[in-house]
């Protein structure tokens, strides 16, 4: 603070805590320029490789921040705490997978603008990172929009593909409506508290709620939750998922199903947990005090979770297209992931993150294999998997592991993730939610095992030629299989890591503004 008056107050912030985001920003900008300067004939995969390097550098920066005290700059517009670090690590890993997948399978005939494809993935990632790493409604919303706008283009990037165009249009329309609904909800909160800073909102909202505005707080919550349910593709905003998943190029579908969904969870947890932390509901007759977030909203979130599980799992039964099936499966998984939030316990963050990790690797693995198979077969239908075991036994076995993980069968990460989530809903005596979760899981066996049936019990009419696995997909699959099995057999290691290195409670702690040393 040596009198740097000419730089103003902005000069005093420690911008280094923003290193992961800045890395992505710099890479996205540079790649867009490189793409323009490269001759037309050059293979654009070089941009993909550079982008992957950027993602990995950013991941290293992010992981170097684990276990640090919460810090914030720009009046909480940017905030770094364990919650942010954990979610950003998930986004970065997911995007790294999407890059590997694109490098291995993206077809120049299909996606003409390959340069744009790679750096738009980066900008979408940047948006997601801001959604996890801010404590101000405005910045959070801008992150949300950056992610949405980039993904709108990515979905429609197969310019000559009619389904891609259609799905991009649907995505834009539904996305805009839900963004508007979210914003409308936020405006109520701003109107009630006069601030967009989440900690100030938390400070003021308790009194406001007591002061007769409880219905408006509820209204704001519902509007925001419904709007944000678009990002996690939960009921009631799930309708876009099948069409968009089907139309988008497979790596983008993978990105939407994992990174975009995780970002949705990040923003939902961040906003509601901080915002509603001080809101206490007092029963007028008994005088009993209840936390709005922990005790009262669980029912509504639980209903959304249950509806997502039921609709996702039953609709998936009838699908013949693999991507559509995975879309419905993703809706159901969003339902599972909402259960910890609906049954609020101290385990909330660890449960959500464990399940997200399991979901990330299983889903990425499935989409990587799907990209290979549909490239080989020329279509995305489930029957394309017929006889995969004879054609590529290792692919079929990896696929089986991923599907088992999503179905929640031991000893995969998905099983323990589900069991872990399950414990809290049982402990809170939320038996109906636990029951629906288990019942719909059994329903999901039908379609997950339907894919396995194709792979192991049928033969492919197009012959038994081998499928060639590009090295980058090979790397992605090995990592995904290893993590899925490791986290399934030794879940304790993963939980301990999360428990010891991430103090999620510090999300509630108002950070001191970091000033340059």
């Amino acid at each position: 603070m040596n009198g740097d008056s000419k730089w103003g107050v902005l000069g005093q912030y420690d911008w280094s805590i923003m290193a992961p985001e800045l890395t992505i920003l710099v890479f996205a900008t540079l790649l867009s320029i490189i793409d323009l300067l490269l001759p037309k004939k050059t293979d654009r995969r070089i941009i993909g490789v550079l982008g992957l390097i950027g993602v990995i550098i950013s991941l290293i920066f992010t992981l170097s921040n684990t276990g640090t005290q919460p810090a914030s700059i720009l009046a909480d517009m940017y905030r770094l705490d364990s919650f942010a670090v954990a979610f950003k690590a998930i986004f970065l890993t997911g995007v790294a997978f999407a890059f590997l997948m694109s490098l291995g399978t993206l077809d120049k005939k299909d996606v003409h603008y390959q340069g744009e494809f790679y750096y738009l993935l980066l900008t979408a990632l940047l948006g997601a990172m801001f959604m996890a790493s801010s404590a101000d409604l405005i910045t959070l919303f801008i992150g949300l929009e950056l992610l949405s706008l980039s993904s709108f283009i990515l979905v429609g990037i197969r310019k000559k593909h009619i389904q891609s165009n259609e799905s991009a249009f649907k995505y834009v329309v539904i996305g805009s409506i839900s963004a508007a609904v979210t914003l409308y909800g936020m405006s109520f909160i701003y109107g009630l508290t006069g601030t967009t800073n989440l900690y100030l909102i938390a400070e003021r909202l308790g009194n406001v709620y007591q002061g007769g505005f409880s219905y408006i707080v509820y209204l704001a919550f519902f509007l925001m939750f419904v709007g944000l349910s678009f990002k996690i593709s939960a009921v009631p905003n799930q309708t876009w998922a099948p069409d968009v998943y089907q139309g988008a190029p497979t790596p983008v579908t993978a990105f939407l199903s994992v990174v975009s969904k995780a970002a949705g969870f990040a923003i939902i947890l961040r906003i509601f947990i901080i915002m509603l932390s001080n809101v206490i509901d007092i029963d007028p007759t008994t005088g009993e005090m209840k936390s709005l977030l922990v005790d009262n909203l669980g029912l509504y979130i639980g209903i959304v979770a249950a509806a997502s599980m039921i609709i996702g799992n039953t609709m998936a039964l009838r699908q013949v297209n693999m991507k559509r099936m995975m879309a419905y499966s993703g809706i159901a998984q969003a339902g599972y992931l909402l259960v910890p939030f609906a049954t609020f316990t101290v385990l909330l963050f660890e449960q959500t993150l464990f399940y997200l990790i399991a979901y990330l690797f299983a889903n990425m693995g499935i989409f990587a294999i799907m990209a290979l198979v549909s490239k080989d077969q020329g279509h995305d239908e489930i029957r394309g998997f017929a006889g995969l075991f004879q054609r590529a036994p290792l692919l079929a076995i990896s696929m089986t592991i991923f599907l088992l993980s999503l179905a929640g069968i031991p000893v995969t990460a998905g099983f323990f993730g589900k069991f872990y989530i399950f414990l809290s809903s049982v402990a809170r005596q939320n038996y109906w939610l636990a029951g629906i979760m288990m019942a719909t899981s059994v329903v999901s066996y039908v379609y997950y095992f339907g894919v396995m049936k194709q792979m192991f019990m049928r033969t492919n009419p197009n012959g038994v030629n081998k499928i060639k696995v590009p090295p980058c997909i090979g790397i992605a699959l090995v990592v995904a299989v290893v993590v899925t099995l490791f986290a399934g057999i030794f879940p304790s290691q993963v939980i301990d890591y999360l428990h010891n290195n991430f103090l999620f409670e510090n999300m509630m702690q108002v950070a001191e503004q970091v000033v340059m040393k």
Partner: protein, 505 residues
């Protein structure tokens, strides 16, 4: 010696590893590895039987390892990896290893995808052994799933026309069962904070435990226990199966291959009975006692329903499937008796039926392979062309009917003896089943082996030497148990004394 159970459980995986390294073309080598690997657990199981201390009712060969801890605030929920067997699980471990070793011989006939056949068989064996040697609910569940998933593939890959449908049906029914189990296990875990069988039994039954003292913090009400009891009963009812949850079994037995049926009828459905004793009876003895009549009635319904429908079948495999329903009813009768005789009868019946059903299905599949049909109307006079095979079939049928001198007699006798002490009227009704069993079994088996023979069936090959092995081994065991039941009842005596007094019988 302490890790003998872990070795026993995981040794099949070693075989899987070897199999994966084998080239596909080396069919004979694959068969040899597959069959030899099933011999090792069999040897180990017999070694355990020899080393088992019959004077103790506690868990033996116990081994405990830390596995998972879930930090909850300042505390932690622990899930261990623990093995052990007592007089209840020991006979079932031996049964499993015998049945799997015999089922592995079915592989002699399989030419298509042999490697996968043995790999799945061995994974399943690990699952089954793990179920019986686990000392906690979580581990039990994990291994339980390891029996279901490989079985799905096993049924779906090798079998008859509608095998995929049958496999899916098997998966869904058992999936529902395991889902219910998981709910119960989670409820127990979050309330008692342990998953260990012994600790849960203590928590539920020890009058001094905080869960049993009304008006204290941790008190678990009677209705709560009843809920858990019913849920467990439901889950195991699907497994055993109790009518009307038996439909998965019909499809499965009709459409799948011999090894799958042998394992399913020989071992998998016994997990249901094992669970009923290990969990329902041990955790909730007072409800087991109060609901004894209901369980006995369920058992009688099973016996009569299965028997009557078996009588109406022309398809040998379906007849045997219904006869399985009927025979598993006897297990329920034994449990409902709530006394030492009844429990002993139930366990005897589980082992005895496991052996007999496995062998019956094996022989029926041999006939099917030679004649291309299992329809009684198209068979007949097989004793002329295949005297040895038909002879064994008749003998094992006699054991199924419960002829004295076979294991079937001992188990039925004890079950009914136990039930006559507790519920004489129900037992009398149930005893009708014994007569019906004789009628339907003799009708169909005699119909297949005697009478006029078809021309096409006149020159069938009799049992080959390797086909004789399962017949000799299983028939031998059936007769040895029948003649000298103490071989089986000796080790379980003390264990049952541990469980029964709590029931108050």
């Amino acid at each position: 010696m302490t890790s003998v159970l872990a070795v026993l459980t995981f040794v099949p995986l070693l075989g899987v590893l070897f199999l994966l390294l084998m080239p596909k073309s080396q069919q004979n080598m694959i068969r040899t590895i597959g069959i030899l690997t099933t011999i090792i657990p069999l040897g180990l199981a017999l070694m355990l039987y020899a080393g088992f201390d019959s004077a103790s009712g506690d868990m033996q060969f116990v081994q405990q390892l830390k596995w998972i801890t879930i930090p909850v605030g300042q505390m932690a929920m622990a899930i261990n990896f623990e093995f052990g067997i007592d007089g209840l699980s020991m006979p079932l471990v031996v049964l499993t290893s015998v049945v799997v070793a015999m089922a592995s011989l079915v592989g002699m006939k399989i030419k298509d995808r042999l490697k996968e056949f043995y790999a799945l068989l061995l994974v399943m064996e690990m699952g089954m052994l793990g179920v019986f040697t686990s000392l906690n609910l979580f581990q039990f569940f994990v291994f339980f799933e390891f029996t279901i998933i490989p079985m799905f593939f096993f049924m779906g890959i090798w079998g008859y026309v509608n095998r995929e449908k049958a496999a899916l049906k098997f998966l869904i029914y058992n999936g529902v069962g395991s889902a219910i189990l998981l709910i119960v296990f989670a409820v127990i875990f979050v309330n008692i904070w342990t998953l260990n069988f012994k600790e849960i039994t203590m928590a539920f039954t020890d009058p001094n435990s905080p869960f049993n003292i009304p008006n204290t913090m941790g008190y678990l009400s009677e209705n709560f226990r009843l809920g858990l009891f019913i849920a467990l009963l439901l889950a195991f009812a699907i497994k055993i199966p109790i009518a009307p949850f038996h439909t998965w079994m019909l499809a499965a037995y009709k459409e799948s291959n011999a090894a799958a049926i042998m394992i399913s009828s020989g071992v998998l459905i016994k997990i249901g009975g094992y669970g009923l004793i290990r969990m329902n009876a041990a955790f909730f003895p007072e409800w087991m006692d109060k609901l004894g009549t209901a369980i006995a009635i369920l058992g009688v319904i099973n016996i009569l329903y299965g028997a009557v429908l078996a009588l109406a079948q022309n398809e040998l495999k379906l007849m045997l499937a219904y006869s399985s329903v009927s025979h598993m009813g006897i297990v329920l009768l034994g449990l409902a008796a709530m006394n030492a005789e009844g429990f002993q009868g139930a366990i005897f019946q589980m082992v005895s039926h496991g052996l007999i059903a496995a062998l019956l299905f094996y022989i029926i599949e041999l006939i099917n392979e030679r004649t291309g049909t299992t329809d009684i109307r198209e068979l007949g006079g097989l004793a002329k062309s295949m005297p040895v095979l038909s002879g064994v079939l008749l003998t094992v049928t006699m054991a199924a009917i419960g002829l004295p001198g076979t294991s079937g007699f001992v188990s039925e006798f004890m079950s009914y003896l136990g039930l006559f002490n507790a519920h004489p009227i129900i037992a009398a009704v149930g005893a009708l089943g014994i007569i019906l069993t004789a009628v339907y079994l003799l009708r169909s088996i005699l119909g297949a082996t005697f009478g006029p023979i078809r021309e096409t069936h006149e020159s069938l090959i009799d049992a080959r030497s390797y086909e004789l092995v399962p017949m000799v081994v299983i028939l031998g065991l059936v007769i040895i148990i029948g003649v000298y039941p103490a071989l089986l009842s000796g080790p379980m005596q003390e264990t049952l004394i541990n469980i029964v007094p709590r029931i108050g019988g």
